[in-house]
């Protein structure tokens, strides 16, 4: 066996390691047995039906979607503006600013969660949905900045300058030229922010008010008992959502950009 085939075998094993456990979750979610484990006693969709009828889980999905959607909107807006500044302008302190903007991911999430919670408690802001939202915005924003910056680098200002010199106002130029050009970057950033928010658990456990659960905290709470087939089914739904959505998004973005001929 030569070196290369050894490396290939290793890589195959690593991919199996990454995906096999998740595959087992999906497999077991179709298990007819009332225990969330082996052996498989038959194929059934009953656990998905149970999920649909479980109010707590449906509520958790609503909270997660609302939170993720609002987080994506806010952090993408401020993140895209900041990325424009960093990519398109030279100014004193730029290096420092770009480090500062990604600071929230350099701080461990627990520390960020504690600091924000205690500070807002001190200001008499109770644990609440807005606090949860602020928390999610601050730690998703750096990811938006990183993703959008990486995409913005390739977009030159020539087209905008052409529009300006042909008499378009800066506002017109922004909405008719800049924004459509930025659309894939904005989309990528928003998707990133949504997924990170949708998946977050550590900060959420600190910030969420009592009785409010997001999907991950709901799963976490259900795990305290034992692993039930319902959790596996919930896991499968989450995988379909969080893997399916970005893949769909990427396909959509590719279609849009190819239609534009870019």
């Amino acid at each position: 066996m030569n070196g290369w085939s050894f490396i290939r075998l290793h890589a195959i094993l690593i991919y199996l390691f990454m995906f096999l456990p998740v595959g087992v979750v999906v497999l077991l979610s179709f298990n007819d047995s009332q225990f969330g484990s082996f052996p498989m006693t038959g194929v059934s969709l009953r656990w998905f039906v149970e999920l649909w009828n479980n109010d707590a889980i449906v509520r958790a999905f609503k909270v997660s979607f609302l939170l993720g959607g609002l987080t994506a909107m806010i952090s993408t807006t401020i993140g895209v503006l900041a990325s424009l500044a960093l990519v398109r302008y030279e100014f004193p302190g730029k290096q420092f600013m770009s480090t500062l903007l990604i600071a929230p991911i350099l701080v461990p999430e627990v520390v960020l969660a504690v600091a924000l919670l205690l500070f807002l408690r001190f200001l008499n802001v109770p644990k609440s949905f807005p606090l949860l939202l602020l928390g999610h915005v601050i730690f998703t924003m750096p990811f938006v900045v990183l993703v959008v910056q990486a995409r913005l680098v390739g977009i030159t200002r020539n087209v905008e300058e052409a529009a300006l010199s042909l008499g378009a106002s800066p506002i017109q130029t922004f909405f008719t030229i800049t924004l459509p050009l930025l659309a894939p970057a904005i989309f990528a950033g928003a998707l990133f922010a949504f997924t990170i928010s949708f998946d977050d658990i550590t900060g959420t456990l600190f910030w969420k008010p009592g009785g409010v659960e997001t999907v991950p905290t709901q799963i976490f709470a259900m795990l305290r008992n034992s692993i039930s087939p319902e959790i596996n089914a919930l896991g499968t739904v989450m995988i379909v959502l969080t893997v399916g959505l970005p893949l769909f998004g990427a396909a959509l973005a590719r279609t849009i950009s190819s239609r534009r001929g870019a």
Binding site: I14, P21, V110, V111, I138, M141, Q149, I219, F220, N232
Partner: protein, 293 residues
Amino acid sequence: MASTVEARETRQPWILLSPALTAIVLLLIIPLAFIVVYSFWLRTAAGSEQVGFYLDNWKEALTDSFYRDILLSTLRIALITTIACALLGYPCAYFIARSKSGNKTLLLLMLILPFWISYIIRTMSWINILGVSGALNTLLVNSGLLAEPLQLLYNEPSVILGLVHFLLPFMVLNVYVSLEGIDESLESAARSLGCTSWQSFLEVTLPLSLPGLAAGGLLCFVLAAGTYITPLVLGGARDAMFANLVYEAIIVQLNWPLGSALSLMLLFVLGLVVTVYNRFVGMGQIAKSFGQE
């Protein structure tokens, strides 16, 4: 006219940056400064806070062997996880980087996929594998290799396994990005000058890929050391990590000044690691991997 355009050029970046800066200052910088102050306050027996300058929390956080032991074991777990990720991830990244372009797209896509799968689900998926009635035990008992299922979960190795599973894609991606940036002709040049392929790897490729290895290592270490969920899901009662202590102090005991001191301790230790990394490698290396979609 020229001067107003110039003035706009200098003002504009700051206008664009202002919402993000406001958010960072109000939601990160001031809260961090606040818990620094808070950590010197005192929680009285009555449950209220005594404003002032007391060193009690810091004394407790720094001298109590309970906190020190858990801090050390947290750092040890993070270090083992990082090394395991490096050893397992490097060859895999090398394989992706040297694959033909068609396969490479698929391999990269499959490398990104785990990032999109929920962390809590990836963590709990190991219960299905290693649990008493999990896949592995079922297999071993059914095949007659074991008479009784083994308890493979709820210990330190299973925590580390969960962390490696979670963090490996970060490592592979970062190493891949730096390998991809190396001119392949350098390696063939080394070979044509008489190096074996192993030598040319050791002398040329490996040193050039160290920044990516360091970036992946930093991410793995910092994320592992700050873990809160993995020890709760895959660890036993004695496998608490430092973040669990912080949660305990803040949410369960409601001892906010002590919780502040403990969080700052974690921040300080990990901040030190980040500073050393930044000094030798620089933050730009991590940003590169975000160009990969």
